[in-house]
């Protein structure tokens, strides 16, 4: 440390003047502490509100995925119903499982929209009952396999209803149902 550095250190120390800690300084300090405390509280509250809002949004969004699947569930049902139209023997086998699942709803409640398509046999709705048999009947001849399974169901309900009309409207009535 040379002469200048020693003088610099001396000047820094000698230039210190006594500054008492006055009541005004204390009051100002306390006011600042209070303000900082309030700001911290607000920050904490805002943070927790944001966290709760984020969680709420997250939980609100989550149920929509399974909920979104539910409405789509009925849509696949018409597919098996229309599916039987093309192959002759298989429709009876494929149509049965959906009817088993959907038969629960029609029995429990009215089940207007879903029940008729798959389970026409319970005699619930005449339209669907007629619609189902014709499909099998028309297809039965070419294949000639479903003579026993479909025949008993259809004659009981719609023997005279509309064989030809059902043929024409089979596809049209099954879709809306």
């Amino acid at each position: 440390m040379d002469h200048f550095e020693r003088e610099l250190a001396r000047m820094m120390r000698d230039s210190q003047e006594y500054t008492p800690f006055e009541a005004e300084d204390g009051a100002r300090l306390r006011a600042r502490v209070q303000a900082r405390r309030r700001a911290r509280t607000v920050q904490r509250a805002a943070g927790s509100v944001l966290a709760v809002a984020g969680l709420g949004i997250g939980f609100f969004m989550l149920p929509h995925d399974p909920g979104g699947n539910r409405p789509t569930a009925p849509h696949p049902q018409p597919r098996p119903a229309t599916g039987p139209a093309s192959p002759g023997p298989t429709p009876t086998a494929t149509a049965a499982p959906p009817s088993a699942t959907s038969s629960e709803s029609p029995t429990g409640a009215a089940g207007g929209p879903t029940a008729p398509t798959t389970t026409p046999t319970p005699t619930s709705t005449p339209d669907t009952a007629t619609s189902a048999p014709p499909t099998t009947r028309t297809e039965a001849p070419p294949d000639g396999n479903t003579e026993t399974t479909t025949a008993p169901a259809t004659p009981t309900h719609t023997p005279s209803s509309t064989p030809s009309r059902a043929e024409a409207s089979s596809s049209g009535s099954a879709d809306p149902g």
Binding site: H3, S15, E17, P20, R32, V33
Partner: protein, 168 residues
């Protein structure tokens, strides 16, 4: 609990206010209002950590907070600090005491230094900290702190050459 905390804090502040205020004033280059603002801000931070710091080294904590805040705040443009060729507001000799003149010259010279150089010089020569401690307080490598201090002293040597005459 809160009462004892407040009493301990108030006792520390009352005892060290004058020295801390002078340090703050050197760190900001003599501006009394900025110095008070800087010290108050550091003490507010000390209040919230007082239970942990009280038994250790509260003054070192306040010093570190002030030094870093001074370096940070000086980087803000609204302080409006800019270097000039000549010392502003030179006191007229004779109308004030020699001590006040000397202090004014010193503060005006310090005000011309960049904030980190000024902090390094103040810590090194007013606080008598070692270079390693200066680096620790500034939060920079040892070489950087040494460089800040040496450059600051070199600049002060030029500015205060007429006040502190070199010894042949």
């Amino acid at each position: 609990m809160e009462q004892s905390r407040a009493e301990g804090f108030d006792g520390f502040v009352a005892a060290r206010w004058s020295a801390l205020f002078h340090l703050a004033r050197l760190l900001v280059g003599g501006d009394r209002h900025r110095a008070e603002d800087l010290l108050q801000e550091a003490l507010v931070k000390l209040w919230f950590v007082w239970p942990r710091i009280a038994e250790e080294a509260p003054e070192a904590y306040v010093r570190k907070v002030m030094v870093r805040a001074a370096a940070r705040s000086a980087r803000r443009r609204w302080w409006g600090e800019r270097p000039v060729e000549e010392l502003p507001d030179l006191p007229a000799a004779g109308d004030v005491s020699a001590a006040v003149v000397e202090r004014s010259r010193l503060e005006a010279a310090l005000a011309q230094l960049p904030p980190r150089q000024r902090a390094a010089v103040v810590l090194r020569y007013y606080q008598d900290l070692s270079e390693k401690q200066v680096a620790e307080v500034l939060g920079c490598p040892l070489g950087t702190a040494r460089s800040h201090a040496s450059r600051g002293v070199a600049r002060l040597r030029r500015i205060l050459s007429d006040v502190i005459e070199p010894v042949g």
